[in-house]
């Protein structure tokens, strides 16, 4: 087995497709995420962005297409526990809802330690040290790491989820609307933590979000999805400053900002509503 090139792609998705009954959720998506990079997948509900993330981590089975992480194919379900564990060490995911992603009876320290036991060969003392390191990286203190999750705020829980994901030492961290449910002042703290983590660990982010301002803060590149397909892609700054696709322009114009006046859009909602109703 060869070690993948440190600057090459850590995640490649080609012609990815998923259908639920007659509904095409993802219609041929291509993505490349480089080591240490940050790629945003932007879209509204029903765009297919979360389904793409779920296929990459193996929670949904693609109808067609190829997913390659760290040079290894993961388009089909893992055949063994060992294979599943190896995949877990390559790609980890943090979900949106910090209130349902932690076991209420398990302390953050124990949750992180459990992942270390599965994914590393550290002994008990080594694991304790690593738990403290990861807690420091996401800005949690010892008391918080020992507390019951119910005693922690949404922002603190989300940091626990990030620390737990990083414990597996993944090359890719998928963040699926991971800061969307947080209060503005807490969101800013977590966004700063994400910047630190990427700088210090070199982990790459696949950042799923509907929030263009947050996407600008976190990512280098972006793909814009609509109705299961990518309508625009490029460097985040270019796509947001000079969007080429009408839908990207519409998304950008819809973001509230100083002096913004909401407008009834030219592009009618009708299409999307009809789409939903036809199910």
């Amino acid at each position: 087995m060869t070690t993948p090139d440190p600057r090459g792609p850590v995640l490649e998705v080609e012609g990815l497709r998923k259908t639920f009954g007659d509904v095409v959720a993802v219609a041929g998506v291509d993505l490349t995420l480089h080591a240490g990079g940050a790629l945003a997948v932007v879209g509204e509900s029903g765009s297919g962005k979360t389904t793409v993330a779920r296929m990459i981590v193996g929670l949904e089975r693609p109808a067609a297409g190829r997913i390659t992480a760290c040079g290894r194919d993961r388009s089909r379900p893992a055949r063994s526990a060992r294979e599943r564990r190896r995949r877990g060490g390559e790609v980890q995911i943090v979900f949106q809802d910090p209130y349902s992603s932690l076991d209420p009876r398990q302390s953050p320290a124990s949750a992180v330690e459990e992942v270390l036991r599965l994914h590393t060969s550290l002994d008990a003392a080594g694991r304790r040290g690593r738990v403290a390191e990861l807690a420091g990286l996401v800005g949690l203190d010892e008391r918080q790491m020992a507390a019951a999750p119910s005693r922690l705020s949404g922002g603190q829980r989300q940091r626990v989820a990030i620390a737990r994901a990083l414990a597996a030492e993944p090359r890719v961290l998928i963040l699926d609307e991971s800061v969307a449910a947080l209060d503005v002042s807490i969101q800013a703290q977590v966004l700063n933590v994400l910047a630190d983590v990427r700088e210090r660990t070199g982990v790459a982010y696949l950042f799923i979000s509907h929030d263009l301002a947050v996407v600008r803060q976190v990512t280098d590149d972006v793909v814009v999805m609509r109705g299961g397909a990518i309508v625009e892609r490029g460097p985040t700054a270019r796509v947001l400053d000079a969007p080429a696709h009408p839908y990207t322009r519409l998304l950008r114009e819809s973001v509230p900002r100083p002096g913004w006046r909401p407008a009834r859009r030219a592009l009618r909602t009708g299409q999307d509503d009809e789409l939903k109703e036809s199910r």
């Binding site: 509204e44 705020s153 503005v184 700063n192 301002a213 600008r216 913004w260 006046r261």
Partner: protein
Amino acid sequence: MNASLLDVEGLTVFLPVEGEERPVLRDVSLSIAAGEAVGLVGESGSGKSMTARAIVRLLPPGARTEGVIRYRGEDVGSLRGAALRALRTDVAMVFQDPRAHVNPVRTVGDFLTEGLRTHRRLSRRAAEERAVRVLDEVGIAAGARRLRQYPHELSGGLLQRVMIAAALLAEPRLLLADEPTTALDVTTQAEVMALLDELRRERELALLFITHDLELAAAVCDRTAVMYAGRVMEVRASALLHDDPLHPYTAALAAARPSLARRADRLPATPGRPLSAFEAPPGCAFGPRCAHARDACHERRPELLPLAGGQAACARAEELRGLLRDRNGKPVVSHDHA
């Protein structure tokens, strides 16, 4: 300015939690003139939703209230029976999650016409005609067909417009909109906001718009009140809130939000987390997180006082005016848009 439609004076609300009384609102004062749009902005636990619920007397059971709420001169706390029902017709509410406030097994038509038929004694046909007209007003075409549909057949944005139509059917003077677009996609949010703004102007409807988003409030509201830990920290013309905030909390809130126009090296994040009213220390509630706090701030709670055409509850508001900048000495992040 017109005489006040709504006057909230020194509103304090306690809720029973595990056998003890906990404050959720502390000395909230706020007024809305007829036809005026006021924003109520805050993070979770700030008390913005509780304020709206107190106005229409929809607080949870066991709540104890101090202070006075006057609607068109009448003390809301003293209303009973028919008078209370009349208040709840005149003051309509739209909530964040439309699906949680509609009966999933009744049609849109039943939902929209129930009030007209039982309270106003309109015939089914007359009620349905009115409902179709209002649906058209909120931008929903083919109203007659929609009346026969069930909530699950409509998208979130469409259903929220049905909720707004339901609120309008009662012909209210004041609309309390509690995060009405938070659960919607951004493009749908822009549509619903444009609609609310239009309807409000056409109908001379007063609006209390509750949100966590300063810019969203600024887009449709004349004035905005910023709440923190169950208190009003600042009231200001919405247009000035971003560039000339009076309270350090408002400035911190504006700066923490990333900009669409540029990436910040680091976001000026306020340490700690937003507090609820019952956790707030005796002095300024924002004191423990404030970069500008002095010893005196932790000792005495500042009152909401008039300043520069607005109001601020900050002991240092006057001297800090124009200096509310982040720790690096840079102005509060300005969001320029070409």
